[in-house]
Amino acid sequence: MATTTAPGLRLSSLPPATGRAGLVGALRSEFTKLRSVRSTYWTIAALFIVSVGIAAIAGFAIANSIHNNPANKASIDATQASLLAFFEFGQLIIAVLGALAITSEYSTAMIRTSLTAMPRRGTVFAAKLIVFTTVALIVSLITSFVAFFVGQAAMSGSGVGASLFHSVTIPRNAIQQGPTGPVTFSGTIVISPGTVLTAIIGTALLVTAVALIAFALGAIIRHTAGAICAVIGLMFVLPIIVAVLPNTWRWDIMRFFPDAAGRVLTVTIGQQNQHLWSAWPQFGVTLIWAAVLIAVGAYLFRKRDA
């Protein structure tokens, strides 16, 4: 490292410049940034292990409880059981990745180097958004499907479950004659493969949308801890605050919050909350939140001093 002599500037000449620096180069650059830091891999690994691991545990727990008491077979939403951890914890973990995609540039001051190399900020922001959305979506879809299959495998043989390939019929109600008496079931619920597929994909999309909300809050707040706190506030604390409001009208408010979609998207046994819209309109609400926050983030990213 002790080269004190004058550096001989013998660099090969560059190919002649054509066109101008634009989105394609920015996309390549942002992908390099994302794949070249360890936090990306740690976060994705944590997302996968937590989501799939808890799906397996939940599957075993269901199988065990049915083994102990057959009455527990009634109205088991096996799909939701496999996706719940991915939805509840996964959205938090991927929110960290989303926030970091922007805030790590500010915490390390890399943003100044990035914007010196590529001063067209709209392009930089768009490239970040596209690369992050693509990665988050792929990771979410894979995690969602794997969590489902692992969760189902864990509860196989228990008499309940869900399948992507055929309809599954489970009992609706259980009546037990005395504490240890025989169990009889009445009514059935038919879970179609289409419903299951909708839940798996819908949950992955919802988790991606939450990741985008985190990304946008990262652009607005420019501080990792601040952005993650804001996501937790929006997705977890706000619903609790609203939950203490009078039952007569709180649902009219709750359906406008980004977390509400989670209450309907993961459900496959037809017990949707009557106060909320159906799955896709409710997901639309979350998407609108993401879109508005991203627009604000993009505006501030362009307008503020870096």
Binding site: A6, S12, G19, S29, T32, V37, I111, P119
Partner: protein, 320 residues
Amino acid sequence: MIEVRGLTKRYGTKVAVNDLTFGIEPGKVTGFLGPNGAGKTTTMRLILGLDYADAGSVSVDGKPYRELAYPMREVGALLDAKAVHGGRSAYNHLLCLAQTNNLPKSRVGEVLELVGLSEVARKRSKGFSLGMSQRLGIAGTLLGDPQVLMFDEPVNGLDPEGILWIRNLMKALAAEGRTVFVSSHLMAEMEHTADSLIVIGKGKLIADCTMSEFIARSSGAAVRVRTPSPDQLVLAIAAKGGTATADGDGTLLVRGMTLDTVGDIAFENEIRLHELSIMRASLEEAFMELTADSVEYHAGIPGAAPGNVPGAPANIGSGV
């Protein structure tokens, strides 16, 4: 090449850059001087579009920086060597910069070789010393083979070896006909490298001239004479149109004539001399004199009021 016109930037109520106008000419090293807090970094950030000016404009080759087709091919700027993601390897850091300007991948290896970081290319930059970080930053500025290079306080905190390396690099870059715009709060640093100077204080332009003009302009340029008969010499010098002032201990400071002339006058008048030397204000003093009124925070050093620093024999040009 770089034109700054009426540039003004306020942070809250504080004016960081105040109606600054100057141009940076191609093909030479221009030193950008000012005390700490004078607005040098802010000016550089404004040139690069990192901050937005409240008034005025900046153009690089006639265009705002953000409209350059390939910014890295025209300007290589290093404002802060630590402005990198420490978790990323040196190679990947440079790669993600090169990709934004569609520069070939092979370029990354070349600039790493040039700055002597090839061996640590795959190491995360978190563990780099300041000197190594500085080299990494400079490697980044050279990726696009730009004609204009901008460095903000590049030798700050470096060891003597690192300082020498940077100094030689700047000379090598200028020797290739590139424009180098380098800021410093140390005049001594500029003495050895800069052809031109832009001096600012409290965000305002104080001087925009060549290095030799700057030296000539400084009030301290004088001939120092020590003689047992000062009164006689004062008269003789006055007769030839010079001015001599007593500097204590029989020492005179002569202004308005060269060393040779003063020697000749003494010889012609048979005045005994014990000392005859050139006393040129070092650049540091000239600089301090110029910026005395604009230093942001004065340290209260007794007997050393800014702008009134006792002269010392010049040692210009002996530093390298």
